[in-house]
Symmetry: C2
Subunit: 308 residues, 2 copies
């Protein structure tokens, strides 16, 4: 089979066929051997579930970077604010954006924010102190140091840290005023990381499952991809905080801990790329090129049904 | 209108409404003022036109980097090799890949390559000498120097230069042997630049129009996105070299020359971002974050129909 087979298996928690053991030393073998403590379940109060006609998009929120926005997002979700609103924009190699179609049309009514705040502080960056920052040793074209905090890609410069606009990151649209975002209008990155946005806008979290539903949306007209024809907008069925869903309906996902030895070993494997395909190992990884493995929570051990 | 309006207008040649002049100092104004000599038309013999049910994908070939592969691609197109073949793979945030579905199935017949060669040299890199390299002054996490050659993103290290796997770049799938690509199976990057592939595979060109048709293709199953169900493969209607098409059917596109003062000025504008929205100008651009402006060839001046 041609092209990149081994080169890409590294990203996936399921890189081997389910009916055969993963090759020794492979990413799949590392993941299969990872103890349960190297994984963490999504916290329901930090998980937004957006249902589109195409499928479900699961977003992990980042209260450690944007506490005021995340609080407002929780309030908006509890008020069912986004239900019946729409995807407003899909610009190729940039962002998909959603919210109230009336917001940009002076003559149309805006959907009330309910109990959510209509003004929030800008949360573009925060002090590094207090963050459990796992640094990558790799070079970055944009920041002195990059790494991960609780699964999120982060850059830091001295005392200040900020979330990086990698693929799948979710931010809060704003007007020209830095404090003009409420979280009611959100966007997700669907292309090359637009790092020039870093520290210019509040990033609120990351899509951990369902990016394909956003990334494959029909693009709007250039240059910016706002749908001129309202009929082309994808309607949003519902957005809920997972903790407001019955337990059986919550996403049952685990993410590999980015402060775990398994995550460090995976990155080292990517740097060395000792597969049969790679001619020149890259010797490095790139912050926005590192996928954080996600898996369904394994079923509980089948206790008691068989004799020990 | 919320989010990123001015921040993104820089990428587009049509960032202002057609019925009003572009704001002075804007990217649109720079492009509008660019003399004709700053633009270049696609050369028909270096242009592949792939027709999908969704739309047309225009690929500019890179004979200066992959002469043997480009020669083979021309032969394959002339033999109508890809007509009736299919998109085989769409892996989110990585690549879309197309070619002969029979190639990966030992029991299925492979479509003959016709007069094309079934073995080519690896063309992963080439000497820097002889290239008109326009360097970017900006930092890059992967190479000592990056820039553009004839509109293509290029990295160099001393005497050696190579095409970089930015969004939209097209390469030739291969097996484990470095010289196992023929160009019959191609891929295009649809996500964050997979720079670890650089110098590991032959890059043959770049999609200059129609990326949205590839980027929005339904993703195949993880981890690698090969469609398990053949019914989900998008059929390829036809692939032609533009020079084999009647002139009226050729793409009439111009690209901004990457060695032009206008291109340099656009990049400087992106570094400085003196718009009303940006709080913190990035001070730099990133090789794979630079879009090369493309436009329809303007109609010829209306000579003679009006008195001078």
């Amino acid at each position: 089979m041609r092209l990149l087979l081994t080169a890409l298996a590294l990203c996936a928690a399921t890189a081997h066929a389910a009916d055969e053991p993963p090759p020794p030393g492979s990413a799949a073998a590392l993941l299969a051997a990872a103890p349960a403590a190297h994984w963490r379940a999504l916290a329901p109060e930090n998980t937004l579930v957006m249902t589109l006609p195409q499928g479900q998009v699961v977003i992990e929120l980042a209260p450690q970077f944007a506490p005021a926005h995340v609080a407002n997002l929780r309030t908006l979700a509890r008020g069912h604010y986004w239900d019946g609103l729409a995807i407003l924009r899909a610009q190729d190699n940039f962002v998909v954006q959603w919210g109230d179609p009336g917001e940009d049309m002076p003559d149309e009514p805006r959907k009330p924010l309910g109990e959510a705040k209509d003004r929030l502080p800008a949360e573009f960056e925060r002090p590094t102190a207090g963050l459990a920052f796992t640094a990558l040793p790799d070079a970055d074209g944009w920041a002195a140091q990059v790494g991960f905090v609780d699964g999120l890609p982060v850059a830091r410069s001295g005392d200040v840290a900020w979330l990086v606009h990698c693929y799948g990151m979710v931010g809060a649209g704003r007007d020209n005023a830095p404090d003009s975002s409420t979280g009611a209008q959100l966007y997700a990155v669907i292309g090359q990381a637009p790092r020039a946005l870093d520290r210019n806008i509040t990033v609120v979290g990351r899509v951990v499952q369902g990016m394909e539903w956003l990334a494959t949306l029909r693009r709007g007209p250039p240059p910016m991809g706002f749908y001129a024809d309202p009929a082309l907008r994808t309607p949003i069925t519902a957005v809920r905080l997972a903790s407001d869903l019955p337990p059986a309906q919550r996403p049952r996902l685990e993410l590999l801990r980015t402060d775990s030895p398994t995550f460090a070993a995976l990155n080292q494997l990517r740097r060395e790329r000792k597969d049969g395909w790679t001619v020149r190992a890259p010797g490095q990884v790139e912050l926005c090129g590192v996928a954080v493995p996600v898996r369904d929570i394994p079923p509980a051990p089948n206790r008691g049904s068989n004799p020990p």
